[in-house]
Point group: C2
Chain length 151, copies 2
DNA sequence: ACAATCTCTACTAAGTCTATCGAGTTAACC
DNA sequence: GGTTAACTCGATAGACTTAGTAGAGATTGT
């Protein structure tokens, strides 16, 4: 399961992505827009900042902007930043592999094999969706085919 | 992440699947074979039994067997039994949908959309792997192609 | 009756999750 | 240079979950 914190992070980044180009938003605005408790959001934004996903300005006219273009922020990176590895088990993580405490042989473990498949399938999706893809407008009713994701 | 309990359940079922046809195993044997704390395993086996994944015999010569052929026990069902829905969010579950507390509109939520994709990809894998697939022998070195999974 | 086994409820220690608090730091503005 | 408004950061707390233990009860073979 995704944590509530990760869902908040995704909503906060989406809110930042919806700003006009060059504009910044203050914590209070983001909290309001993304429906996140303000003090909790502070923590989240700090985590995102450490990872470079957002950029902040301090002082009286301070605020936040995305650290990169929204189309360059993969959902996978957001989730990894907040919740850690995508895999269902540390031994099935490719970015942060760790052997199970009670595993006899990671190379032949059949559970690990299938969990790796699940991890790869999950990563395939989340590494190919960006924050920009979250703010695409709903499909117009007149269209028959959906617009392509991530041109 | 899968819980430790779910990993134990998978190992315990694997141990049962490795028995000779018709044989049963006692908790102590399974605990030993699957490397699960014995009292904890008792709870796990009860959960699996409620779901019909194992069958038990009480009394002096009691023990456990699989409730169905190993090839009919999907890993997805095992994991759902122990850890609950596969989805990364209750709102992205197809078997146990529940609206997010703070969701404005589940139909248009872009986070939910991508989480549904992840859930489907995960389910596709875990619903097509059975406990039987966990005990297939390692591929012989002489073969060039991998044997088919779940004939 | 006895022993061995599964059944079931309760409990606990440790950790995680979801926040909240408050003091500190930075920068604009008068 | 002081005030104000913003971000920074560590500590804390309550509720919940996880992983495991304890022990009494029920069932069955001998």
């Amino acid at each position: 399961m995704l944590s509530q914190k990760a869902r908040y992070a995704l909503r906060a980044l989406t809110a930042l992505a919806e700003l006009e180009p060059g504009a910044q938003a203050q914590i209070a605005e983001i909290a309001d827009e993304a429906r996140v408790p303000r003090k909790f959001l502070e923590q989240i934004l700090l985590d995102l900042k450490k990872r470079g996903l957002v950029h902040s300005t301090r002082g009286k006219l301070g605020g936040y902007t995305l650290g990169r273009p929204a189309s360059d922020i993969e959902l996978a990176e957001v989730i990894r930043t907040i919740d850690g590895p995508l895999a269902l088990s540390p031994c099935a993580s490719r970015m942060a592999y760790r052997k199970c405490d009670d595993c006899l042989d990671a190379d032949t473990c059949p559970i690990r094999k299938v969990l790796l498949e699940v991890r790869d399938a999950t990563a395939e999706i989340l590494e190919n969706r960006s924050v920009a893809s979250m703010i695409e407008k709903p499909v117009s009713r007149r269209r028959k085919t959906a617009p392509r994701k991530r041109g």
